[in-house]
Symmetry: C2
Subunit: 440 residues, 2 copies
């Protein structure tokens, strides 16, 4: 907070258009906002920064936006892999989750945020439970987040989830210096019957917030919903009125042409999670077609239980590669892949003044060290960012004008403490599972 | 060379079987070979090491084997992306390559090796030209390599390529303390007519070496060859007698069931290059089917011009993910993906006593620092290696018993000099291209 005025120097990729690039540029930040973006010497005359970062080998760009994750599930990383989907869920994920305390989720979320900062992500979208602890972790870390309490619309826990959603909005929407927004999260068409979806829509209306959900993730989901309701998940969502609210829909893997038109018409923000879709064998989302049809598509990792890392640089690469193998080698070119994780992600989530380096925009900025063997020669840095770079190339991270990582040292959270806590808690959870004891 | 006896401590994954793992283990190395592998305290009594590496948070495993690349093409990284295949080749890659001097290739190869060491690869398989310079780079870097002079079997350069192949074998096969092996490399069925292939086979026979080639990479190749010769590339190779020699075949994306049986029958070592196949929109190789049929499958990155990094950790991940989305979530589990890059790679290339940590085996060993946020909690380190780790997690690299990287400092090559040389040379090549001058 003491570094109110920050000057960044280096190559600048503002993500305001494919041709916008300053090989020797600078970005001035003041009071949490971008003050100026341009070539060297473009900061206002007489303006004196409190601190300066970067140099000729650094690339400055907007912080990345992870449009879909379940932060607390970072505790399950490497707990269950290479299994059939239902065995993975029923025998591993759900029993483990049933043993999680809210403090476990707090520490799992901290680990998630730590990894995200270290790999250049500055905003996350979460859907989980014990969300008051998630909000606390986000607040303390200086991170930016869209939070939502995942609600299953059947069974005994429904009312609790509904009430906690309401509380989350009341306690956290617009809080943490405006870094936290809240959405209402009916989990998915196959876990939320139409009547409950309508209640969720009403709740979102009441508080003027958006809706975060999973949609058309697997072929099985589409088949089951179609069998049960006589129409596909997306058409069902249209019918129940979900799209009367701003909606963020994760996955949209199995969508037909007409559904793509619906997603465009209702301005649904689709979040593409290529690696989770591969690992869980869900399929390849028709991102190229959606973009052509004018759908806004952001990028997400999904949880560390189905990925298993939270590195959006790798995710951009996977997204581009998958579209190429599906649609040809010119599909989803590097700049467009970068847009998914920045400007398009912000748009999909309805986050204003974010995802680009523009005067007046929120100062969520990352600096990559491009002076590394795998980023030479420097024919095209945009191609490098998508096809060769990795999250560990990120050197410095600024969120809301505050330096949260400097020279790969995260300043807002205690890395050693988090790793130790998470390891110890993961072991304790497994002990509780073996012992068959109740959640403590 | 002065550290003749080395003791490594940490978690040990010897790749000798899925159950072989020492949570607190040690590996002793002497005179370039593995002396012992086992739990803590298993090194021979009274044996005193010259140096010790690792610790409780380190994972010790065999160095990775990159079964297919074109090292000199690292100079073209980010030079040509997101283009249609023929435009990419004819308007970008080939004109650039035509301007390369043998010194350019030397420096491009050094950059390739530098990146490989930094990401845990200890053996590369190369097919390119100016191979005497490539061999020099490998020798000086302390790296291990299978080298081959790529031969196009038509046109004026054919005899030169043939003679250079011969020279390469004579000058370098078995050299550099045995770290270099040479193969004969007819480029591909579509660039080498049957008569030339027969000459190449004869050359390989004469010197008792293997053959390295590209096979069934694209649908267009299969269609063209079938049209021209009345049979598919793999059947044509059988007919001309290619499989009478030990063969390493890169790609094998478009292969039918009968061809898979042929690859198994003739013990062809297939090298899978998942990311290059995605980026160039070639397709997804049926690796799961090939493995079921008993084909030996190794892993490669292909060149940095179609990938664009040389990180085999990412490549293992992509390989596993692609098989899952094609064949289901249990396909190519983590341990099997690791096998492709280690023990199976060694087998595919006919490299004996390599790819596993076993007494008497060559001491190509890497140590990863597992004490990092994206590798917690530690439920399953094998899953971490494939689904969450990255080449930059590698801390120490030993090749042939020599420490070539310690604490991420590469000891055998000058990183700064390489990056500067490559950048300057890439710029000069582009100047020569613009000027239209001849190769100097």
């Amino acid at each position: 907070m003491d570094k109110n005025k920050i000057l960044l120097k280096g190559m600048v990729l503002p993500m305001t258009g494919p041709k916008d690039f300053f090989a020797r540029g600078e970005v001035a930040i003041e009071a949490g906002k971008i003050l100026s973006v341009g070539p060297e010497g473009s900061a206002p005359q007489g303006w004196v920064p409190d601190a300066e970062y970067g140099g000729p080998d650094f690339l400055i760009m907007p912080g990345l936006i992870n449009g879909h994750t379940h932060a607390g599930m970072t505790l399950l990383r490497s707990y269950a892999d290479d299994l059939p989907l239902m065995e993975w869920l029923q025998e591993k994920v759900w029993p483990f989750e049933a043993k999680l305390t809210s403090d476990d989720i707090y520490w799992g979320t901290k680990l998630c945020i730590l990894e995200m900062i270290l790999s250049g992500t500055t905003t996350l979208v979460d859907m989980y439970f014990a969300m008051h602890k998630v909000a606390k972790a986000v607040d303390e870390s200086g991170f930016r987040a869209v939070l939502s309490r995942g609600m299953v619309g059947t069974g005994p826990a429904t009312e609790l989830a509904y009430n906690q959603s309401k509380e989350l909005i009341e306690n956290w929407h617009g809080k943490a210096d405006g870094r936290i927004k809240v959405m209402v999260a009916p989990h998915a068409p196959y876990t939320c019957p139409p009547d409950f979806l309508k209640r969720a829509i009403k709740l979102a209306e009441e508080y003027g917030v958006g809706i975060n959900t999973h949609l058309a993730e697997t072929k099985v989901e589409v088949d089951d919903i179609t069998k049960q309701y006589g129409k596909s998940p997306i058409r069902l969502m249209e019918e129940v009125g979900l799209f009367t609210r701003p909606v963020v829909a994760a996955h949209c893997v199995h969508v037909d042409e007409q559904e793509i038109e619906l997603l465009a018409k209702y301005k649904v923000g689709v979040i593409h999670n290529p690696e989770s879709n591969l690992k869980l064998a869900s399929g390849v989302s028709p991102v190229t077609r959606m973009l052509e049809a004018g759908v806004t598509v952001g990028l997400g990792t999904d949880s560390a239980c189905s990925n298993n890392n939270l590195d959006l640089f790798g995710e951009m690469r996977s997204a581009a590669f998958l579209q190429k193998v599906s649609c040809g080698s010119t599909a989803l070119p590097a700049y467009q892949a970068l847009e998914l994780a920045t400007v398009q992600g912000a748009k999909a989530l309805g986050l204003e003044n974010l995802g680009q380096l523009k005067p007046g925009f929120k100062a969520d900025v990352i600096l990559l060290n491009m002076h590394q063997p795998h980023l030479y020669p420097r024919h095209d840095v945009v191609a490098h960012l998508v096809y060769a770079a990795h999250g560990s190339d990120v050197q410095t991270v600024i969120i809301d004008g505050n330096v949260v990582m400097e020279n790969r040292q995260v300043l807002t959270i205690d890395s050693e403490k988090i790793m130790a806590e998470v390891q110890s808690r993961a072991e304790q959870i497994k002990e509780r599972l073996t012992a068959g004891t109740e959640q403590s």
